[in-house]
Amino acid sequence: MTVNIGYGALVLTFIVSLYAIGAAIYGERNKKPRWVDSARNAMVLIFPLLTISAGALILLLVNNDFQVEYVASVTSRSMPTYLRVTALWGGQPGSLLFWSWLMAGFASAVTLRKWDRDREFLPWVIVVTLATLVFFLLLVVFYENPFVRMWQTPVGSVLTQIFQPTGSIPYVPGDGRGLNPLLRHPGMIIHPPLLYLGFVAFVIPFAFAIAALITGRTDDRWIRITRRWTLWAWLFLSLGLILGGRWAYDVLGWGGYWAWDPVEISALLPWLAATPFLHSVMIQEKRGMLKHWNMLLIIFTYDLMIFGTFLTRSGVLSSVHSFAQSAIGPLFFAFIGVTLIVSLYLLSRRWDELKAEAQFTSWLSRESLFMINNLLFVGILVVCFWGMIFPLISEIFTGQKVTVGPVFYENATGPLWLALLFLMGVAPLSAWRASTAKSLGRNLWKPAVISFLVPIILLLTGMISMAAILTFWMGAFVFSVTLYEFYKGAMARHKRAGENFFVALWTLMGRNRRRYGGYIIHLGVIFMAVGIIGLEVFQTETQGSLALGESLELGPYTMVYTSLSEFDTDDNRNVARAVVEVYEGDEFLTELYPRKDFFYESQQPMTIPGVRSTMEDDFYVIMADWKPITTKNATFKVYHNPLVNWLWVGSIIFILGTFVAAWPEKEDSPKRAKKSVSASEKV
């Protein structure tokens, strides 16, 4: 019954979406607004419909309905309930349904906004959003259906079909195969949903951009409407990436958070296109420039998002993140090809209408510096894209597979990241339109002088890594510039309005959310950079096979292997858990419990590190796979990761800043509206 309801709702959504696309186009072409309204109503409906469908699948998962093939493949009786719910995105069919569901949420939400001023966009936003949704629903309904059940025929073979074949009886396996152990981690519960949310939310700005191209309304209206959508999408995507890193650090047991795995890169690529987009839209809003460029960036963001999904699900790239190979690859490819070509075609058709309304007037103006920011981000994007795609090219032309590993990406993108850090310090101080070296220097010299203390101190303490010294210097520079900005702004208010300094700071931020939210994000980035440098430059590691009571030294720490226990758990795991004491000099610090879980259902091992984490450094112990573990002997791999916690703290600041910038407020304040009018009059 649940299956029928879930599947019925799914098919109904598919039909309703198709209808809405048709009605929107028909209504728009024939000037019949009632049809467009009908399409809009249909679009509101799809989220509740897919909620029924996803809800039905969750119900099946929670109730151990193993007759459903998907349920049997991702859950088992020994799994706790919360993991059964998260199994919704533990396999290909379920995660595609989940993805569609999230997207439907955004689609329905966008139809609920006030459309009075933007009626002409409505039909095309419906078409673009739903065309994307229909594609995913097509995959779910026809190729990767999570509601397929298993039936036993009289001859004994097992069929997989939605409906009961005549003469067959339901086939219900005694237990399921269980969720992939790597996915049984709190980080994995929220990492995929957030990443998906980030991905699907970018469909909305893309839909508006395409609507603007089709209707020829090429002012910055589409950007103003989607500003908040874009920020939320960016927030989710950033959170998804960060949590993915945290998950890797906690679970994958290689001592790091980012391995430059092709699939990781494919999730980073949309972020690398979206971040310059967030910056360059400001130039279009303020100055009416870079219209083509913004269109290109949002098109790239969208198609890189689909491309990333395609790579993980088609078997083109192999990686720890890949889903099993399936038949949906060619469909994905066709979809990417069509959307990319159509949107680029639409852009080239409107090319001449998207002329800039103003010009660059100074090398040091805010817009020039933003342009350089874009250049650097796109540079990183090119490096990552090329590194990811190159093994494919190599295999085609030479027949040899090659690996493009972390060293390549680190060397190629390192200087670009550093330059971005520098820009983060300079750009906020430069003015729109025109900035002279003199005015910029006047703003910069104080923070610059303060920050100069940092490399001097570092050199005096004997640090020799250039990368680290430069990064810390730039970090200090941006930090003092940003704080100085907060201080200046708050002081100005304080003096003028006589407000208490902190009240002034608060109202200041409230009045200029995007600006100060952006600054907070920048502060977060500095913290993150410190953590990244800590791990990239100062990480040390050692390894040794220890008998009970033996010890291993690394950095300031000593670890002593004191005992090992091995036991089976209720949820079908075999756990080998070591107890390790950590000392700094003679002082006992803590006990750590690195362990190795072996999952019987999936026959997979998993290494879980024991970590002592402080702001200064992490002491990270794993039981390595090098030699078989015996009660007498175990091989430990130990990492000393200085400063890595700054990365996580920075991430939290980063996310808070995004919240500040993205929190809803009135669409356009009257003052700004007036300004944009006068700006257009000027031109």
């Binding site: 460029w293 290109l296 040899q400």
Partner: protein, 188 residues
């Protein structure tokens, strides 16, 4: 980033069909082409039975060279294995027994292709199962790549004309299974 060329050139009011724009389209299409080829490859799956088997050259651990061209006229059983592969051990003794059965005929040859393995352990493995048919390393994983193997063990039986006759993914369960597959190819 050829697209960018075209943005800027066009803003300067150059003719509509600009060099940059053509370049941008070529770039986009080339990119799609590369991904398409790779996608087609990953969709291929195993080689079809009845197709010409890919050519190979195998140099055995003893230094003898076997070339697929020279082996025409014989039925070739090409077995991919590795010493670290537990399932391979299930079939090792049966394969050797089957080889002993066919060896006197002269028109059947067994070849073991040792995939991503280390020489020490490979030799120990061959000794452990007293394997006498020729085995050699898959240098640069070229043979496995051209046969599009997905792991070990996998076995490809090629008929006298060089056409692929039978494929077995995973270990043979019984001696009889090997014999019947090879006989099938011999009697075609």
């Amino acid at each position: 980033m050829t697209e960018d060329n075209s943005i800027l050139e066009n803003q300067e009011g150059k003719p509509k069909i600009s060099f940059g724009r053509i370049l941008a389209w070529v770039f986009v299409l080339a990119l799609l082409g590369v991904v398409y080829i790779q996608l087609a490859k990953s969709q291929q799956g195993t080689i079809e039975i009845g197709a010409m088997a890919p050519e190979f050259t195998l140099t055995s651990f003893e230094g003898e060279t076997f070339d697929s061209e020279q082996l025409k006229g014989k039925v070739v059983l090409l077995n991919f294995w590795a010493s670290w592969c537990k399932p391979c051990e299930l079939e090792a003794a049966d394969l050797e027994a089957a080889w002993k059965f066919y060896e006197p005929r002269g028109d059947v040859i067994f070849l073991g292709v040792d995939w991503t393995d280390t020489t020490n352990e490979a030799n120990e493995y061959l000794e452990k199962f007293s394997i006498t048919y020729p085995n050699g390393p898959d240098l640069g994983t070229r043979i496995s790549q051209s046969y599009r193997t997905t792991g070990v063990p996998e076995t490809y039986i090629i008929d006298k004309e060089g056409v692929l006759g039978r494929v077995k993914i995973g270990p043979f369960q019984t001696y009889q299974e090997i014999i019947s597959m090879v006989d099938d190819v011999l009697n075609q």
